[in-house]
Structures are given as structure tokens and as C-alpha cells.
């Protein structure tokens, strides 16, 4: 072959060296997903062999030359029941197995470390709580459950890491989460799998799995100097949030200190848990959940804060335990409309 066409020969050799039927297993969940895959391949093979054997075998046995006279048969309830119940049973096993895997992939453990991901046409932006920002890349340590809290700034995207066997849609206006525990250091593909416009196929990147030591080094070496919460604090001040949400007795807005993960009473009588989605809605659509005891006077910030800015604010409110610094800021800085001057330079940029 290599005498006939050296190019083709190269091509084939290259392929045989890199030929793979399965992507690498690099997360805690991957072996479980592959186990289900093998089970499904097995029942498919059995089903396929059965159908081919039946059709092929019967065609040979009862071809016209061999069997010139057909015998008419009505049917058989017993056989119908057999080939209803056996496939049904196999499908039910698949259903339960698949459901267990699904709940495992989509229910993050409590000790997972959180990384925010913002998808936009056509890039992935990852934000670590320590303030590390990455574009089309993600650095994660082995052995540590990682939860991604994701949102899209424009259209539907989908965050897919085949080597981890996880994927989740990234939706505008709504946080979605996915989690995994990386197990094998290396670099793996990151794809956007939901068609999102012109450069959909360029919305790709690399997931780098590091050993915990290397990850520490990476974290220390690539911080922007400001954590997400610190960015959020600046934004909180510059947007004038403190003028109402300052925790004073006569404040016009609810006290935010230590509010995260608590339950609050709404003016329509229902109650809600303060989580990322609740805070995001409260900033963008304040009338959606008006708190009991407060007038619906908060203006909407729709279109004024980017998704990254919202994440900064949420992170800030998450870590806000006392209103001491809020009140200090409210009393000392007089920012009439000085958003541009005080906006942080790093990220969480306020849209001009």
C-alpha cells in the first residue's frame, strides 16, 4: 500500500495508531456511563442477531424452491405476549439504570466547589470564586467534586465534556448546573453542542485536569487579584444598592446580610428560598418576587448588568454576613451617577 500511495498509507497508519471507539474516562461518572453503554450495546447485539437470524434463517428455510406451498397461520397470543414482555422488561431495566445515572449526574454533592460559566456567542467564560477568569478553557483539580453554575448571555448553548460524559444546556435567563469529579490529569475537549449560530463549531475549548498540587500553583499564578465577591462589592456600591439595602431599621429594601440560602416571605403570601436564581430574578425583575413588608419600588436592572456582573453580585451577597462595610460605604462615598468612574476594571463590567 505504501508503494501505491504514501499519503493514504500515512493516513491509515495514523488512524490505526489513534483509533478509538471510546473517549477517555476522566471523571468519576464516566465508568458508570460506559457500563450502561456496554449493557445497551449488549441488548442491541442480542436483538440484532435475533432479527437477522430470524429473517435470514426463515428466508433460507422457506424460500419458494424449498417450500412451494405456504401454510397460513393466524398468529399466536403466547408469542405476542413473549415479544411484548421480554423487550418491555429489558427497556424497564434500561429505564431504571438510566434514571439512576441521570440523577447522579444532575444532583451535585454539597461539598462541590463552584465555578461559574457564562456562555456567549461564541466563547465560554469560566469564573472561579477566587477571581480566576478563563476563556474557552477550564482548569479543575482531580479528586474534587466540581459544580458548574452556568448561564447564557444570548442564545442556547450546551456545555459538553465528552471525557467526563457530562453535558448540560446553557440557557439564557436561567442558571443550570452540572457536576463531575475529575479523575485523570490531562487535557480534554470542551464543546458547545447546541447549535448557536455562525461560529458554533469554534465555540470549543480545553478542559485541563491538574493534580491538586498543580491546581494550587495554577490558582495562585492566574488570579486577577480580585475575587468575584470583591468585584461584587464594588458593583454593589457603584450601582447604589446600598442606599436601600443597608440593613438599617428604616431601610427601603430588605436586609441582605446572611440572607443567602434562607427562606423569605413574599408579599403574595408564598415563600421562597434565596438562591442564585432568586437573587438574579430579584435584580432583573424586582416585581416578580416582592418581599412581604416592602413596597415594590425597586427599579429593574435589566440590560444594565452583564451576566458576569450578576454573578459577582450573587457571590458578594452569598458572603455578606454583616452590613458594617455596606453602611460605611453608603456613608462615605457620594456617587451620584458615577458608575463609570468607580466601576471595577477587571470584570463584572457594567455595560456602558
Amino acid at each position: 500500500m505504501h508503494l501505491i500511495s504514501p499519503v493514504l498509507w500515512q493516513f491509515l497508519v495514523n488512524w490505526l495508531e489513534h483509533f478509538a471507539l471510546f473517549p477517555p474516562e476522566a471523571s468519576g461518572i464516566a465508568p458508570y456511563a460506559d457500563a450502561l453503554y456496554f449493557f445497551l450495546i449488549l441488548i442491541s447485539l442480542v436483538g440484532m442477531v435475533l432479527v437477522v437470524a430470524l429473517v435470514g434463517g426463515l428466508s433460507i428455510l422457506y424460500r419458494q424452491e424449498k417450500n412451494p406451498v405456504a401454510t397460513q397461520i393466524e398468529g399466536s397470543t403466547l408469542l405476542e405476549a413473549t415479544w411484548t414482555i421480554i423487550p418491555l422488561a429489558l427497556f424497564m431495566v434500561t429505564f431504571v439504570w438510566g434514571a439512576l445515572l441521570y440523577f447522579r449526574i444532575y444532583d451535585p454533592p454539597a461539598n462541590a466547589m463552584n465555578i461559574y460559566v457564562v456562555g456567549k456567542q461564541w466563547m465560554w467564560k469560566a469564573e472561579h470564586p477566587g477571581g480566576q477568569h478563563e476563556i474557552n478553557a477550564l482548569h479543575v483539580p482531580t479528586g474534587q467534586p466540581v459544580r458548574l453554575t452556568m448561564i447564557s448571555q444570548d442564545v442556547f448553548h450546551s456545555y459538553s465534556i465528552p471525557a467526563f460524559r457530562v453535558k448540560r444546556e446553557v440557557i439564557p435567563g436561567r442558571y443550570t448546573t452540572v457536576w463531575f469529579t475529575p479523575t485523570k490529569p490531562g487535557t480534554y475537549h470542551l464543546f458547545c453542542t447546541q447549535y448557536c449560530g455562525t461560529l458554533h463549531s469554534q465555540m470549543i475549548g480545553e478542559v485541563t485536569v491538574l493534580t491538586p498540587d498543580d491546581y494550587q500553583k495554577w490558582t495562585a499564578g492566574s488570579t486577577s487579584g480580585m475575587s468575584l465577591a470583591q468585584n461584587g462589592e464594588r458593583l454593589f456600591a457603584s450601582l447604589g444598592c446600598a442606599s436601600c439595602h443597608n440593613g438599617a431599621a428604616d431601610a427601603r429594601g430588605p436586609n441582605l446580610a446572611a440572607s443567602y440560602a434562607g427562606r423569605v416571605q413574599l408579599s403574595n403570601g408564598s415563600s421562597a428560598t434565596v438562591d442564585d436564581a432568586f437573587l438574579r430574578d430579584a435584580i432583573l425583575n424586582p416585581t416578580m418576587h416582592t418581599m412581604a413588608g416592602y413596597a415594590p419600588i425597586m427599579p429593574t436592572y435589566q440590560g444594565q448588568i452583564s451576566e458576569e456582573g450578576l454573578i459577582d453580585l450573587v457571590e458578594y451577597i452569598k458572603q455578606l454576613n454583616t452590613n458594617y462595610r455596606v453602611q460605611q460605604t453608603a456613608n462615605t462615598t457620594q456617587v451620584p451617577s458615577g458608575v463609570q468612574q468607580t466601576a471595577p476594571a477587571a470584570s463584572g463590567m457594567v455595560k456602558p
Partner: protein, 553 residues
């Protein structure tokens, strides 16, 4: 309980002097016809035209994917190609393929009627189809549309400035053509059966078309609503799907898949009807478990409406609702399995011959089994997370739609070609075409399962170089497949003039359509037939006196 059926001597067969083909002459007699058979031919010509347009796009897509880089065309062009390929193939070819052509031709004859219940609505449905097709072509010629055939919001409503509205209108109008066809079938099957033609004497072809018609009539309006909302959102910004206005972009997908999942069954059920007829005829044996096969069609139609969310398992729907939809998806797989096993059991103790329609039917059974089983992979929640939106899903639905439905369509076209035209197709060439299609198909789409599990996302104009070999295989297969589809196009056209004269019942099949002359008279039957035998009653056929065959002239 045994029957000897021997094929009639075709050398003595003569063309009938009068038939629906020569009842009237001139273009006007075709364009203003109310005859279901002529409308079926009009449909056949138009869907073939769109099939080759969609096929040419598929060819260009595969050519671009030969190399990992975007070198043949720009990413935008690629996006437009796969969008138009999907729209043309699904709405202008697969949905009308079997029902509007073979179904239109045969349903009235099979139930013993002179025409469909509403001949003028039938003609209107063809004109609507044509209008839909022209809108789609207009969108294509004026620059194309790149939403993907799924029109996902907010991409389609706010982020693209291609011809979304034109293409959306095309699908909207073509949708009404499918509603009218479905409506016509339902009324015809209910009201126009010949005396003695009870529900359980109907051929299974009619049962599966009945089930598909119910889906068309109930499902298509929801698609129309979804498209109108997209158009309104684009033009006046009503905000139903726009999160910035308090809308929900996911709502669109619920509406869209509420139609588009049943649409899969609209496409496949009529094909299953073809397979039942073909397998029975070439085994000279009644279909094993007639009632099981008939009711499995109904079961598919009923369950088919309650599985749409399995397209959205990873989209942030409630985990518990995903659980329900996954369970229902598993249930809808069972009736398809029942059908496959019943067809296989029909072969048992048959007297089997292997004419071209039978070869296509075997191809259908094999490929549809793979397509169906890989559907179970995707219906299984945890597996779907890894597989969805990759080439695995592309391979899966091409196995069902192309491997299944297109094989069934070609099987049906060959099977009823003598009835439609009065002439035989060339047997040797057509067997070669069936084989070529089968090989080409497997070579094209099987590698896509592997590359999908490796993680290659669908709708990518460029991909990582390690996926190249599998893509090269796929493109090579597509070339073979293309030859497999061009061949029938050529020899069937050739056979219109040079094919052997078929005679009324070349296959010695039992259906009512085979008891009348080929090609049939405009009024189908000289006098209304009275049915006193079951479907697939080969004994009745063997005892039937030869001169009962109704030929005029």
C-alpha cells in the same frame, strides 16, 4: 390450509385501453384533476424533485466534512446547508413521502372506494404543498436560513438576520397540506369502506395510515402555532420566548417537539404499512398476528404524543418530569418491537421469493431495528446526557428516517410501480440498487455512531482532526448511497416506456388494488366491490375465478 400461488404469465399481459392515465389529456387535466391517483403522481414528481435538492445538500455537507477544517465553504454556508437539508427532507420529503404518494393512490382503492372523501381538498393539499415548497425555495435562493430545522429560540427570533420568516411560512403552509391529507384519509377510512369491508378486513397499510393521519391532524396545528409565534416574535417582538421580556425560550421547544416528535411517527408509520403488505405478498402468507400489528400502530400514535420532552432531557427541565418522559419513551419502543417480530414470524412457513420490494423490506427491518434500539440508548436518561447533540443522534435518526422510511418508500414504489404505471421495473438493476443503497447507507451512518460516542457534536463545520477517518468513511458511504438513489430514478423513468407490461396482478397479491386493472380506471372499480374475505386471504385468491379480473377493452 395451504395455498399454491403461481405468478401469472406476463408475456400475454396487455395494456388496458382505458385507464386513469389516458382518461384525459393535457396539462390542465392534470393540474385541475380531482382523481386521487393523478394527485398521487403529482405528489410523486414534486417530492422526488425536493428529495434530490435535499440530497444534493447532504452531498455538499459530507464533502465539507471530508476534512477537519472549514475549507470547502464558510461556516455560515455550512449552517445554511444543514438547515435547508433538514427542512427540505423533513417537511417536503419525509412527511408527505408515503402518505401523499402511495397512500393517496391506494387508500381509496384498498377500502373499495372511487376516490377520497374530498377530492378537491386533496388537490388543494397538493397546491399548498407546492406553495410551501416555493416559499422554502425562495428562502433558499434569496440567501438561505441558518436556524437549524428546529428553529430554536432565541437564536431564530433575535440573533439571526437570514430569511427565517420565509422559511417558517413555507413550513406553515406545507403543514396545512399534511393536515388536509390526514383529514381526507380519516374521513375516507371511516365513511367510504365498501360493503363488507370491516375494520378488521382492512389491509394493515390502511391501519398504519389511519394512525399517522390522526397524528397529522392533531399534531401539525401545534407546529403552526409555534411558527406563528416565532414570526410574531421576530416582527413585532411579542416576547413569548424572550427571557428579557419575561418570556420562556424553553416554551418554544415544548411546542416544537410536541409536533416534531409525533412527526417522526407520521413519517415512519406509513412506511410500516408498506412493509406489512410487501412481507405478506412475497411470503404468500397472511401477516402474523394481524390484530397485534394493527393495534401496535394505534399504540405508537397514542404514546407518540406523550414523549416529546425526551428531546429536552439536558435542558434544565425538572428531573422528575424527565423521569416520566423517559418511562413513556421506553413504552413507545415496545410496539415497534412487536411489529418487527410479527414481520419476522410472517416468514415462518411462507413460500418466499426475493423480488426488489422484498429486498428493500429486509433492509428496512435490519436498519430500523438498529435505529429503534439506538433510540433506547437515547431514551435512557443518563445515557442521553452523553449522547444527545452528538453524531450519535444524527446516526440514530438517519437509521430510522433514511434506513427505515426511505427503504420503505422505495420498497413501496417498486411494489406498486406496476399498479401505478402498468409496467414493470427492470428486476436486475433494481436489485443492484437495493443492495447499493443498503451498503452505502451502512457505510455512511454506522461510523457516525462511533464518532458520536467519541463526542463529536452535530452541526459542526469544523471538527478535531482525530475524528477525520470516521468522517472520511461516512463521506465515502454517502457517495455510494447517492448512486443507490440515482439508479431507481433512472430505470423507473426508463421503464415508463420500455418496461414489461405488468398485467393486473403481477405479484399475486390479495389486496383489492391488485384485483383491478393496472393502471386502474379513473373510477377504480366498475361496480362497487363486496368484500367477503379477510385481508391477506391467499386461499380466496387461489380459488378466485380468473375471469373476475376487471379489465376494460
Amino acid at each position: 390450509m395451504s395455498t399454491i400461488v403461481s405468478l401469472p404469465d406476463q408475456s400475454t399481459a396487455t395494456m388496458p385501453k382505458r385507464s386513469y392515465l389516458n382518461a384525459e389529456y393535457g396539462l390542465k387535466s392534470w393540474l385541475l384533476t380531482g382523481d386521487h391517483k393523478r394527485i398521487a403522481i403529482l405528489y410523486l414528481i414534486s417530492i422526488t424533485f425536493f428529495f434530490f435538492i435535499g440530497g444534493a445538500m447532504a452531498g455538499l455537507i459530507r464533502l465539507e466534512l471530508l476534512t477537519p477544517q472549514t475549507d470547502l465553504m464558510a461556516a455560515d454556508t455550512y449552517n445554511k446547508l444543514f438547515t435547508m437539508h433538514g427542512i427540505v427532507m423533513i417537511f417536503l420529503f419525509l412527511v408527505p413521502s408515503v402518505p401523499a404518494t402511495i397512500g393517496n393512490f391506494l387508500i381509496p382503492i384498498m377500502v373499495g372506494a372511487k376516490d377520497l372523501a374530498f377530492p378537491k381538498i386533496n388537490l388543494l393539499s397538493w397546491y399548498l404543498y407546492l406553495a410551501g415548497g416555493i416559499f422554502t425555495l425562495a428562502a433558499l435562493i434569496s440567501g438561505g436560513v441558518d436556524t437549524g430545522w428546529t428553529f430554536t429560540t432565541p437564536l431564530s427570533t433575535h440573533y439571526l438576520n437570514t430569511h427565517v420568516i420565509t422559511a417558517g411560512l413555507g413550513i406553515f403552509v406545507a403543514g396545512f397540506s399534511s393536515i388536509f391529507t390526514g383529514l381526507n384519509f380519516i374521513v375516507t377510512i371511516h365513511r367510504m369502506r365498501a360493503p363488507g369491508m370491516t375494520w378488521f378486513r382492512l389491509p394493515l397499510f390502511v391501519w398504519s395510515h389511519y394512525a399517522a393521519s390522526v397524528l397529522m391532524v392533531l399534531g401539525t396545528p401545534v407546529l403552526a402555532i409555534a411558527l406563528v409565534l416565532v414570526i410574531l416574535e421576530r416582527t413585532i417582538g411579542i416576547g413569548v420566548f424572550d427571557p428579557a421580556k419575561g418570556g420562556d425560550p424553553l416554551l418554544f421547544q415544548h411546542l416544537f417537539w410536541f409536533y416534531s416528535h409525533p412527526a417522526v411517527y407520521i413519517m415512519i408509520l406509513p412506511g410500516m404499512g408498506v412493509i406489512s403488505e410487501v412481507i405478506s405478498t412475497f411470503s404468500r402468507k397472511r401477516v402474523f398476528g394481524y390484530t397485534a400489528v394493527a393495534f401496535s400502530s394505534v399504540a405508537i400514535a397514542v404514546f407518540g404524543f406523550f414523549v416529546w420532552e425526551h428531546h429536552m432531557f439536558i435542558m434544565g427541565v425538572s428531573n422528575y418530569s424527565a423521569l416520566v418522559f423517559s418511562l413513556l419513551t421506553m413504552l413507545v419502543a415496545v410496539p415497534s418491537a412487536i411489529k418487527i417480530f410479527n414481520w419476522a414470524a410472517t416468514l415462518y412457513k411462507g413460500s418466499i421469493t426475493f423480488e426488489t420490494p422484498m429486498l428493500y423490506a429486509f433492509g428496512f427491518m435490519g436498519l430500523f431495528t438498529i435505529g429503534g434500539l439506538t433510540g433506547v440508548f437515547l431514551g435512557s436518561l443518563g445515557m442521553d446526557i452523553h449522547l444527545t447533540e452528538t453524531y450519535f443522534i444524527v446516526a440514530h435518526f438517519h437509521f430510522v428516517m433514511v434506513g427505515g422510511m426511505l427503504m420503505a418508500f422505495l420498497s413501496g414504489v417498486h411494489f406498486w410501480w406496476p399498479k401505478m404505471t402498468g409496467r414493470m421495473y427492470p428486476e436486475g438493476l433494481s436489485k443492484l440498487a437495493a443492495l447499493t443503497t443498503f451498503i452505502g447507507f451502512n457505510l455512511t451512518f454506522f461510523p457516525q455512531f462511533i464518532v458520536g460516542y467519541l463526542g463529536m457534536p452535530r452541526r459542526y463545520a469544523a471538527y478535531p482532526p482525530e475524528f477525520q477517518v470516521l468522517n472520511v468513511l461516512s463521506t465515502a458511504g454517502a457517495t455510494v448511497l447517492g448512486v443507490g438513489y440515482l439508479l431507481p430514478m433512472l430505470y423507473l423513468t426508463w421503464s415508463l416506456k420500455y418496461g414489461k407490461i405488468a398485467g393486473p396482478n403481477p405479484w399475486q397479491a390479495t389486496g383489492l388494488e391488485w384485483q383491478i386493472q393496472s393502471p386502474p380506471l379513473t373510477e377504480n372499480f366498475i361496480e362497487t366491490p363486496v368484500i367477503d374475505y379477510e385481508a391477506y386471504d391467499y386461499e380466496w385468491l387461489a380459488n378466485k375465478t380468473k375471469n373476475e379480473v376487471q379489465t376494460v377493452g
